[in-house]
């Protein structure tokens, strides 16, 4: 198992390096001067552009800039925000807990709702209940997050006054954003659980279990559900990416702090170091989460690590 984890860890190094390189190159692939672009909106003078060029080291050759960027990134130095002049990493790390809190709460909602709908649909295959569950799942992937968020605010905050519409802190503030984001993600999980269960229920070991005279309940929970849920682990990893992206919109709708809102604001202000840092950190987090998922997958399904070694 340790060898498996080591192999996975090593394999993620080139990915992280590639992501860092892509983020660095993106800004330099654009035609024109990045310093001019950054100050275009605020109408920066020639002196301020020249100052920014020197400050960002844009006068050096590209390979020097790249080497410096890599070294600084390794040291955790992602530069300074153009507008606040605060270190990018510090700014992002301040916002990170809020986004993680939202993503985890949404993930919990998505897994509970998605698994529930999937099980209900599979157990009532080809019935009206199956159709309703799958209709809810399609609705989940079709409803724009910003719309469902606004509708919930309209209902639970403006009309019923049950929950606060915006802001931070505590379960009451987290409930609506997590529900909106979780619902959007639950559709994919519901469909996967349903199809996984339907496939597993046709396996020979289920027939064997029935032939042994086991109760349907035992067959379902011990033999079918356990095996059907294994692929869900992978999707949870992939959905984490969706949730990080979805957090961008959710945080804006509910005026929550977080990386998503920070990146959007940074884009609107053309604060490139902050955008660069935010996108890089989100990609690194996503890669690491998928690494964890890979490892936990091997714990859940011993066949995986045997195949790999």
């Amino acid at each position: 198992m340790l060898r498996f984890i080591g192999k996975r860890l090593l394999a993620s190094i080139p990915v992280l390096w590639g992501v860092t390189t892509l983020v660095f190159l993106a800004i330099h692939l654009l035609p024109g001067d990045p310093a001019e672009l950054m100050l275009a909106e605020s109408g920066g003078s020639a002196e301020s552009i020249a100052y920014l060029r020197t400050q960002l080291g844009l006068d050096d050759p590209l390979y020097v800039q790249y080497g410096r960027f890599l070294l600084n990134t390794l040291r955790g130095d992602l530069g300074r925000s153009i507008f606040t002049n605060r270190p990018v990493l510090q700014t992002i790390l301040e916002q990170l807990p809020s986004t993680i809190e939202l993503a985890l709460a949404a993930m919990l909602m998505a897994v509970v709702l998605g698994t529930g709908l999937g099980i209900l649909a599979a157990l009532n295959h080809n019935s009206w209940l199956d159709n309703i569950c799958m209709a809810i799942a399609v609705a989940g992937v079709s409803v724009p997050i910003f719309w469902s968020g606004l509708l919930l605010i309209l209902l639970f905050s403006s009309t019923l006054h049950w929950l606060p519409a915006t802001g931070q802190g505590g379960l009451r503030h987290l409930l609506m954003p997590a529900a909106v984001l979780g619902f959007a993600s639950s559709g994919t999980i519901a469909r996967l659980v349903r199809s996984g269960l339907l496939e597993v229920l046709q396996k020979e070991y289920i027939t064997t279990a029935r032939a042994k005279g086991l109760s349907e309940r035992l067959i379902f929970y011990r033999h079918a559900l356990k095996n059907a849920l294994i692929p869900v682990i992978t999707v949870v990893g992939l959905q984490f990416g969706f949730l990080l992206g979805g957090a961008v919109v959710t945080e804006t709708v509910f005026s929550r702090q977080g990386i998503g809102r920070l990146i959007v604001d940074a884009i609107l202000w053309k604060d490139f170091p902050l955008v660069q840092g935010g996108v890089l950190l989100a990609a690194v987090t996503y890669t690491l989460v998928n690494l964890l998922v890979d490892i936990s997958y091997a714990f859940a399904d011993p066949r995986i690590r045997h195949d790999e070694l």
């Binding site: 590639g18 079709s142 997050i145 606004l150 509708l151 309209l154 949730l243 804006t252 884009i267 955008v275």
Partner: protein, 297 residues
């Protein structure tokens, strides 16, 4: 005396061919209630958007201060916005933009994505490695963050959003097509084409591409829904269509501040986005079931 054949004629043995006759596909599609419902809703939206200048009761950009924030009525079916503009007329014209954005973004994703997938799957070796590693890198950026990053570089605007959403969609096509090419290129007709001296370009476009088209069609359909949703999200965030363009995401964003006094400004465009995305998803699911029932979820 009959001449002895030097090469045996291949007989149809082994697994049945993957391709499903169009008639069967159509019959399966006709039986799928969800797909039919999706097709009906989508067709209605497309017709309404196409004939927007004829159907729209008002000019979508005409400002009327006296009709500010009016609730839905006989004169204004979906009410009016802050500037007294008719929300229903704006919805109809907005449909043109949202559908166009969806189609253009998917074209930007599918054409290069498919080409890269064909090349990677057909040539293998270092070209395959290079293309696929690049795709893996692009997939390392979660959700719409890649599109966000591209918009950050290109600047806000509808065209840039189409490009950004399109580029972010490329890897899924490359991966799908590459996988299909790897399976198809083992077929005898590909080897036969190579034997009779067909050039690579001809083999790829005439022999391989038509046989990997089914999954591409399914992905393209489902991707239109994804593109419309993402593009409207970016417009909602203020990075896409700019006022006074009647784009659904931008309309919703404009109406947000008046949600309590005039909820119709936000409800109507949101409903339009949801119905469009839902109909495309239903149709895409139906197409997938019809073209390849094994993929059924």
């Amino acid at each position: 005396m009959t001449k002895k054949r030097r090469f045996p004629i291949p007989t149809r043995k082994g697994p049945p061919p993957r391709e499903i006759p169009p008639l069967v596909t159509r019959r399966r599609l006709r039986r799928n209630v969800g797909a039919l419902l999706g097709l009906f809703i989508l067709a209605t939206i497309v017709v309404a958007a196409a004939f927007a200048p004829l159907i729209a009761p008002h000019d979508p950009l005409a400002v009327a201060p006296e009709a500010q924030l009016k609730p839905p009525s006989a004169a204004h079916w979906a009410g009016t916005d802050l500037f007294g503009r008719d929300v229903f007329s704006r919805l109809l014209f907005g449909g043109r933009i949202s559908l166009l954005v969806g189609v253009v973004a998917v074209l930007i994703a599918s054409v290069p994505g498919t080409a890269l997938g064909l090349i990677a799957g057909y040539y293998r070796s270092w070209v395959d490695g290079l293309i696929m590693r690049l795709m893996d890198l692009m997939l390392s950026f979660p959700g719409i963050l890649l599109a966000l990053g591209i918009v950050a570089l290109l600047g806000p605007g509808l065209l840039n959003v189409m490009i950004a959403v399109g580029i972010a969609g490329i890897p899924s096509y490359t991966r799908l097509v590459r996988g299909s090419v790897l399976a198809v290129k083992r077929n005898l007709y590909v080897r036969a084409a190579r034997t009779i001296g067909c050039r690579d370009g001809r083999i790829l476009l005439r022999h391989i591409l038509p046989n990997v088209l089914a999954p591409i069609i399914v992905l393209t359909t489902l991707d239109i829904a994804w593109a419309i949703l993402n593009a409207s999200s970016l417009s909602f965030l203020g990075l896409g269509a700019q006022p006074p363009t009647p784009e659904w995401g931008a309309m919703l964003s404009e109406g947000r501040a008046y949600m309590h006094q005039a909820p119709w400004i936000t409800i109507a465009p949101g409903l339009a986005i949801m119905l469009t995305v839902l109909s495309v998803n239903l149709l895409g699911d139906g197409l997938r079931d019809a073209l390849d029932p094994r993929l059924r979820t």
